[in-house]
Symmetry: C4
Subunit: 232 residues, 4 copies
């Protein structure tokens, strides 16, 4: 028993969703679950196959990236998670995967255009692709800098992390987040599906227009606005 059992369990459950949703090959992904009051998060240990994971193998880390509890080395992306939790107080879960279509857009260094209502049901803007990092930052504290690469992109574009819960890190792959780890995993699957639909849309019609503003507004508000009428 530990005071961190609730986030270990949440992180474990969310990690186990990744292979079920077809979002990871081998160990190419990780999920964390944070408790902002305790100032820590639980994250997948590095390089451990999903079938060998247990609740107790989750590693507890503080928002500066220091291991607080656990015998295994945490995910190599841990510092990116730490930076985001430290600066974005309202997120409870973060997911990183190399899902195939999302990663292809990141490698192509393009934002994913908003082409339809599947996209607009979840966010009102193109899914942003952060520009590749400066060489100096890469050679330095790389995973730590990845956190700032993500936050800088949001600042430059004037985006809110509470409204846009996903990003492509250029040349690398997607990160998503949410109020809970479950929501962050959900967002990873949405991003992958929207990424595939957008590529197919451009293949069917290279001149396909972006979704018009009235439809973007309508679909987002029916799921997320003050008068939303989706769900129970």
């Amino acid at each position: 028993m530990s005071q961190y059992d609730h986030i270990k369990k949440a992180a474990y459950d969310a990690n186990m969703q990744l292979p079920k949703l077809g979002l990871v090959l081998f160990t190419f992904g990780n999920v964390s679950a944070a408790d902002h009051k305790l100032g820590v998060f639980a994250i997948k240990p590095s390089g451990v196959p999903y079938e060998d994971l247990t609740v107790d193998s989750m590693v507890i880390v503080d928002f500066d990236g220091n291991t607080v509890e656990g015998n295994l080395r945490p995910s190599s992306d841990t510092k990116t998670h730490a930076v985001l939790y430290k600066h974005w107080p309202k997120i409870g879960g973060i997911v990183h995967t190399h899902s195939v279509y999302g990663t292809a857009w990141a490698q192509a260094q393009r934002d994913i255009p908003i082409f339809g209502t599947t996209h607009a049901d979840h966010l009102t803007v193109d899914i942003p692709c952060a520009a590749p990092m400066a060489d100096k930052s890469i050679q330095g504290n790389y995973e730590y800098e990845t956190g700032f690469q993500i936050m800088n992109c949001f600042e430059e574009r004037n985006l809110s992390y509470e409204e846009v819960e996903m990003i492509l890190v250029g040349n690398h792959a997607p990160f998503t987040w949410g109020k809970t780890p479950e929501k962050a995993v959900y967002n990873s699957a949405v991003l992958e599906t929207v990424a595939k639909m957008a590529l197919l849309t451009e293949q069917i019609n290279p001149q396909a227009p972006r979704l018009k503003d009235s439809l973007i507004k309508k679909h987002f508000e029916r799921k997320h606005g003050p008068d939303s009428y989706y769900g129970q």
Copy 2:
């Protein structure tokens, strides 16, 4: 026990086919089953995961979109279903999904060309893509207007809803229907397969011609004409 048990059961069974056929991610789809004599239909509750659905969770709604029985909020697309049932007396089931290839054609705002006999076995024309809705309608009673968007497209093109049981709503995604909910689900799977085949066909040969009239006629009639010889 309720007088609506038969359509609740039919709607439940048909909804459960969607994830099995790979047509939905999470809750991105819904099926309804109508009883025209009773003037109502049973439809999936909004935002409830497929694995949590039960027969009794289906919501009974009349053809004006009013809930008649059920504790949950019906699908956010309920009014579109209601409009279609009200005006098209011979359909017993309606399906809406965001299946990947069908949605990509809808986002590309293109009809799906009839390229082969797989398509002609089911309909004799291109699968129509309804033009995006006017802003005024979007800002108004959106889901209700979607029903008219579908019917207007059929009227303008002089199509019969009994012969053509599927449409793409531009920028959005497919709707299909049929005499029964099972047939409507079948049509959704056919649409998705035909949509994928059509994209691949254009990739293999950008000058691929539409199927010639004699083959369209032959294949449709062997399945659906007065002298059809397909099935038992």
Copy 3:
């Protein structure tokens, strides 16, 4: 018990492989198994879902297309099978599917170019695509004419049905055959994989050259030549 039990069983087993191999949606496919001494073949009944098939539901038909035994109507493609068995005495099984990539090439009305050794392990020429049928034949005895459409294509190109065990019927979909129904099913899966690889090859390199003759010869002979050394 019937004197046809052996081909009923063979046809049933081979039909059940189609959904397992991902080659059919719903009932879009059929396999037959012939006994040339008895002058008949067993074939899938028309429009019956694979999960409802039984050995006894297979229909026995002679090489002129007349039903000899069975209570159900045979596949609507039965006459095509009959024509091929009548003229090609060394084939024991025929398969017809609407597998997605094979059908896309058929709709594009293109032969599948021989790009690599996966293809050359099975045949030494491009997979032929038969030209669409003349309108007069379509309006006549269509499925019977499809058999001649296939044979005519082989005659015009001087191909041997014993060496090339597959074809695309233009605008329609693939047919494959073999000494046994199992081999015919195997060929359908090979065709679908080769069809997908060929499309991807052209997407990666639109100038990809056909496989050179020395490699075609080598790969085919190591599997099929007099000094073959593949298999046991």
Copy 4:
């Protein structure tokens, strides 16, 4: 019991991973496991379906390609494996598949460009595609020459087989290797995923740039450098 049981077991286990990872259709693949002290390797018997394989059916072959133990004929690619083991003393496993995306790049005769970190996590250069073999070698000892085709490509490009554990054989398909058979299988799955991502990347952005050197270096070193911090 035989002195080769350990490599038979290792080869069997690794072979059985191929269908699970979706890398093979039917028997289109093989894995071997070597013991360099004993100077032999265990390899899949030729043409035997994966579901019929057993540990004892693995064939023991020496590094000149002579069968040492076993009743079945070894894989038709055995001599390629033998040549590589003979010249590359530090590899313990070799895999050959016709996985769809890897094979498409081989057929297109193109190296797979390094576009992102998924690739750089495993190797720092484009995945090499060996030029097709000279006709003279094809007509001679073909599978033996395939081993030299692979080694020559590495020599010409000044690549180390310990750093780059995969290659595409032009017109043919991928080969991968590693210190163990498990690692070689892992590399086959990585190659297939990277191959798919690279094609999609070029489709999304035909001008997508190669990954910049600083990122290549960073990602490879965090997994493989002297100060690596990935895994346990």
